[in-house]
């Protein structure tokens, strides 16, 4: 389990860096004008990323516990 968590942390950091680069790029090179959707896009993006990670953990823990109780 420790190895699993260690590998996960490495991959998580790599993906988090990618997400960070995307957000930084969006902010840095935004074209400011009326109707700019950059903030909405960043908000939605962060919400989806957090949502997917959270759901994957909740789903994983539930499946883990279910298997433990059945075996």
């Amino acid at each position: 389990m420790n190895i699993l968590i260690s590998i996960y942390i490495i991959f998580f950091l790599a993906i988090a860096t990618y997400v960070g680069i995307n957000i930084f790029h969006l902010v840095k090179f935004r074209i400011g004008f009326r109707g700019d959707k950059t903030n909405v896009a960043i908000g939605l993006y962060i919400a989806i990323v957090i949502g997917v990670i959270t759901i994957s953990w909740i789903g994983g823990i539930l499946a883990y516990n279910q298997l433990l109780s059945t075996t």
Partner: protein, 335 residues
């Protein structure tokens, strides 16, 4: 609300932001969906291997799948960023091209509407015609002679809007000619490069022409014209782009003999340059066949009046010289 695009100025009109058609995101979207397929297939594979019976294995599948989905979403987000931040801004006086070359690599170019020489709309294939999007090619006399607005929605309407703005911006400039100082013109690019960039010829055509050039005493444009690769008007337009001065089609222009003769015949014949117009403010418009820095300097030294320069076809200039200058008496024949 302030605008934060580069070199912004105070504008009365709201600038128009143009992006590529949303269908340009179709391919990245399809790719993202394909990339998501392994997530659904992985469970079947892992079940066959037997990992799904191990609680730690199931937990790993869930959390690593979550990471992978975030990666795919981020991939699509990068593509969306390229689509969203790669835009063209149309202000009241210029066109700004914001091109995202790669991540953290942005190229900005701008074109004043008064430099626009030609606008073409290009719609290729079924998709572009069905969904009404395509390219707008803008030919200019500026440093960057060719601007392309790629895959923009409703290109015909947009091109007409740009054309209207271009015409409006050129009107007041004609009246201000007197305040316009004569500028020294310099070639921006080689003529072969310009013709290739405009899509009139290929690199191979230039190489073949350059191979024929040594010893022929001909210019590159002449060789290409003789090979039927370009027309005389193409040469005029390319020279106009090269020297960032307007081109003029003398076949459609009513010349006035008195105006033409402002330039002495010897100079006109020597440099293939004629006066085509004289504004009420005294600015003389000079059309020349072979623009060069030296020729401009020479003409400027010959005249006290302010001059503006144009490019015209050599044959029409020769014809004008024959037509509008009095025939010289051949002294030998007089005897």
């Amino acid at each position: 609300m302030t605008h934060e695009y580069p070199n912004q100025q105070a504008y009365n009109d709201e600038p128009l932001i143009v992006r590529r058609h949303i269908l340009d995101l179709l391919l990245p979207a399809v790719w993202s969906l394909i990339m998501l397929l392994p997530v659904s297939l992985s469970y079947v594979v892992f079940q066959a291997v037997g990992i799904t019976s191990d609680p730690a294995g199931v937990l790993a599948i869930w959390i690593f799948s979550g990471l992978y989905i975030v990666f795919v979403i981020s991939f699509f987000m990068t593509e969306w960023t390229f689509w969203y931040q790669d835009a063209w801004i149309i202000t009241h006086d210029r066109l700004i091209d914001i091109a995202l070359v790669s991540l953290f690599n942005r190229r900005l170019s701008q074109l004043s509407f008064n430099q626009i020489q030609d606008i073409q709309v290009e719609m290729k294939g079924y998709l572009q015609n069905i969904f009404n999007y395509g390219n707008i090619n803008v030919q200019s006399a500026g440093r960057q002679s060719f601007f392309q607005l790629q895959s923009v929605p409703r290109p015909a309407g947009l091109a007409s809007k740009i054309s209207d703005k271009s015409l409006l911006s050129q009107q007041p400039q004609e009246n201000n000619n007197v305040q316009q100082k004569v500028r020294v013109i310099k070639p921006s690019h080689r003529i072969g490069e310009i013709l290739v960039a405009e899509g009139r010829i290929t690199n191979e055509d230039v190489i073949k022409a350059l191979q024929l050039q040594p010893g022929s005493g001909k210019k590159l444009g002449e060789i290409l014209q003789e090979a039927d690769k370009i027309t005389r008007q193409d040469i005029v337009q390319a020279l106009a782009s090269q020297y960032r001065i307007p081109g003029i089609d003398l076949s459609r222009y009513d010349l006035d003999g008195a105006t033409v003769r402002i330039i002495p015949k010897s100079i006109a014949q020597q440099y293939l340059a004629i006066a085509v117009d004289r504004s009420p403010d005294g600015v003389i418009s000079v059309a020349m066949a072979h623009p060069s820095t030296e020729l401009v300097a020479e003409l400027m030294s010959q005249f006290d009046q302010p001059l503006t320069f144009l490019v015209a076809d050599e044959d029409y200039i020769k014809e004008a010289i024959m037509t509008y200058y009095p025939l010289e008496l051949d002294e030998n024949n007089d005897n």
